[in-house]
Symmetry: C2
């Protein structure tokens, strides 16, 4: 492996280790990371069915089903049967759910805030641009 690529690989590995460790720690009074992500997604993208969520988050229907059940019990989501297909339910975020999203200091918030504080603004902007480029590359191939 070429030197620049090796250096990148090592750093990326380090970063990934951190992220993995980090990502599974989002827990707001018993609302886990995936729970939260579902609520946030529905908040930002409007009502969707369970099937949609499974596709979006790349997890199985039963996994979504359990998450949704939990979120309904917590009154963070509400569901209503669709008229066109009575098997399907549109899930939408309740007021309480919206408050959760608005009030939550996620790890993502805390991490990005920490980084924003410690990098000079110019560098932060540059890093953001480059990270965006990387995300674009990753998405490109994700489409296949």
């Amino acid at each position: 492996m070429e030197a620049a690529q090796k250096a990148f690989f090592d750093t990326y590995t380090d970063f990934q280790c951190f992220m993995i460790a980090q990502v599974n720690k989002g827990d707001f009074n018993g609302v886990g990371a995936t729970h939260y992500n579902i609520v946030e997604y529905l908040y930002r993208n409007g009502p969707n069915t369970g099937k949609d969520l499974a596709r979006k988050f790349h997890i199985s229907a039963p996994a979504i089903s359990r998450h949704v059940k939990f979120l309904l019990e917590k009154k963070l989501l509400a569901q209503k049967q669709t008229a066109e297909d009575r098997r399907a339910f549109l899930l939408e975020v309740t007021e309480k759910g919206k408050q959760l999203v608005n009030g939550s200091e996620t790890q993502r918030h805390s991490v990005t805030t920490r980084i924003s504080r410690q990098l000079p603004k110019k560098e932060l902007e540059q890093f953001t641009r480059m990270l965006q480029k990387v995300v674009d590359i990753l998405k490109q191939e994700g489409e296949n």
Copy 2:
């Protein structure tokens, strides 16, 4: 939230979504992602103790203990008690373990290769430097 920080937050969120979806898919004939990461880490960085691994991967000692037990059974690692401290064991990668690492195209490999190919070398180096800085920031606070 300030504009530069908001832009960073959004991009980071995007990136994190991608990572979460990808990260847990590494499984080579029953050797899970964390198993593999441990073997690779020891291969690239030389023998380390369980304690070191727990620190490196940000997971608890018992979790490491179980992973190591599995990897010893699979003969991917070998251990030897250290002379200086008879509580501690140095873990090192066996030939079989090295073969696993050399023969595996991990997610991380494929991702970093894709990025390396599509970014001009100079940009890749720059991105690596900045990502390293970010990792350092994250590590700093991890120490508290």
